[in-house]
């Protein structure tokens, strides 16, 4: 019994091996030789290359995008080697350079001329908190101090507040070669001119009035940044180049109102 069972097992095993050999030989005849050698990922690597024409690559991949990709890869916690993007991206911006750089140069030329780089050291002072009547909806602001004789762009940004310079209640936007006021009666006011001219506007009797967008001023805030320029300009991008920035928050004062009666004299 034992021997017959053992023989049967051996016979089945030999039969299986024969069948496997025959099927392998049959498959070898039908399938092309090189497909077996290629790695399964090979088509994924090779297929984009022929499909991407040079024009398509250059149009899609701008210089900015290549930087972003590089940062993403660099910041990625798993540094899985991805050889395909790097060689694809790095050479491609070069062919596009003539057109893209021309456009960039056209856009950036004024920036280079007007924005002073590096920005000079500026001292700007505003109170950290502005004590106001808790019911107040507007505030006449005089407490801004800075020093400098250069030309500046003063960027006011209101958080729940708007700015009103010059005539109260009127839009006093103004522009000439040396002085620009833009965004009067909005939360984003820009004044550009010499330091003296900006100070002069801020310290006129009308000054700069800050109005709440809704409700009381208390709790709202504003910020001011100063950017040194070579000539008056109000491009929003210059605001971001500032090295001097200050923020003030409106703090409600506690107010007491009372009546004191006249002091009487006691009869002796």
């Amino acid at each position: 019994m034992y021997h017959s069972a053992r023989n049967r097992t051996i016979a089945i095993a030999i039969g299986g091996l024969v069948a496997l050999t025959l099927s392998a030989a049959f498959a070898d005849d039908l399938i092309p030789q090189d497909s077996v050698i290629e790695a399964p990922t090979a088509p994924l690597v090779e297929s984009p290359a022929p499909t991407l024409a040079p024009q398509e690559t250059t149009t899609v991949l701008a210089e900015g995008e290549s930087v972003t990709v590089a940062q993403e890869i660099g910041n990625s916690p798993i540094s899985t080697p991805r050889p395909t993007p790097t060689p694809t991206i790095s050479p491609t911006p070069r062919p596009t350079a003539p057109t893209d750089l021309d456009l960039l140069a056209e856009n950036e030329t004024p920036t280079v001329e007007i924005l002073i780089s590096p920005q000079p050291r500026l001292t700007l002072h505003m109170p950290i908190s502005l004590g106001i009547d808790p019911r107040s909806r507007s505030y006449l602001m005089n407490s801004i101090e800075f020093w400098g004789t250069s030309t500046y762009l003063a960027c006011f940004a209101g958080y729940g507040v708007g700015f009103d310079v010059g005539t109260s209640g009127a839009v006093d936007d103004f522009q000439n070669d040396n002085f620009i006021v833009e965004g009067d009666r909005t939360p984003n006011l820009k004044i550009s001119g010499t330091g003296a001219a900006i100070k002069s506007l801020l310290r006129t009797p009308g000054g700069i009035r800050i109005n709440s967008a809704s409700g009381a001023l208390a709790g709202h805030s504003l910020s001011l940044s100063l950017t040194a320029l070579t000539s008056a300009a109000t491009d929003q991008s210059y605001c971001g180049a500032s090295k001097a920035m200050s923020t003030s928050v409106f703090l409600p004062l506690k107010i007491d109102l009372g009546l004191v009666k006249g002091q009487g004299t006691l009869k002796k």
């Binding site: 107040s136 507007s138 407490s143 209640g169 409600p252 107010i255 009372g258 009546l259 004191v260 006249g262």
Partner: protein, 219 residues
């Protein structure tokens, strides 16, 4: 047999109880602060704003600040924003005619801030005209500008402050048009900025008082 959980529940309860007690402390402090009485007993301090009880139901406060340089050897740009002026706005000079108007500045510790040249100068006072003026008045003598102590006693000292009672122009407080019933009384603490230089950050409360101003018999 007790487990760790049996111990943690009472601890958690104690922690919550402790947090509640700590949370209640500010409420207790503010409640006590509301009952502080300063002066000769007639003035009550309250939290937040209150309505005036006398000649004008709604007056407002506006505090103006300006940069006060205080350079140090290491920082030439050092300084602070001093209180330049305090304006009592929306003042009705017809109903408040003849009254005395007093102003105090209080710091964060409920202490009266010195507003004059002597340490006991805690109050600025003017006498409002008996008749509502038709033009702005800035004569400190005509308006009886003076310093008082915390309890309201007159102080005889050099007057550094100036005052302006405005019935025309625009209100400092809200830019509205001034009139006899919407007047501004502005106290300039020390226009020379030599002696009285109060850091605006230290002012946490202002007090406005109207005082009956009885005339002497025969006047």
């Amino acid at each position: 047999m007790s487990s760790g959980f049996n111990h943690s529940r009472p601890r958690k309860s104690k922690f919550i109880l402790g947090a509640l007690v700590l949370g209640a402390v500010p409420l207790l402090i503010s409640t006590f602060a509301a009952s502080v009485t300063v002066g000769n007993g007639s003035l009550e301090f309250g939290q937040g704003s209150q309505q005036a009880t006398a000649c004008d139901s709604t007056v407002y406060i506006a505090m103006g600040e300006e940069w006060h340089p205080s350079p140090t050897p290491t920082d030439a740009s050092n300084g602070f924003f001093r209180v330049r002026a305090v304006t009592i706005s929306n003042l009705d000079l017809t109903t408040c005619a003849g009254k005395k108007l007093r102003l105090r500045l209080i710091d964060g510790a409920s202490g009266e801030i010195t507003t004059g040249p002597t340490p006991d100068s805690k109050v600025l006072q003017i006498s409002l005209p008996d008749q509502a003026p038709t033009s702005n008045v800035s004569d400190p003598i005509a308006l009886g500008l003076s310093y008082l102590s915390g309890i309201g006693a007159p102080i005889s000292t050099t007057l550094l402050a100036t005052v302006s009672l405005s019935v025309s122009g625009t209100a400092i407080y809200d830019g509205t048009t001034l009139s006899a019933t919407n007047a501004d009384a502005t106290f300039y603490l020390d226009p020379t900025a030599v002696t009285v230089n109060i850091d605006g950050q230290s002012v946490r409360r202002t007090t406005v008082e109207t005082v009956n101003n009885p005339k002497a018999p025969g006047i």
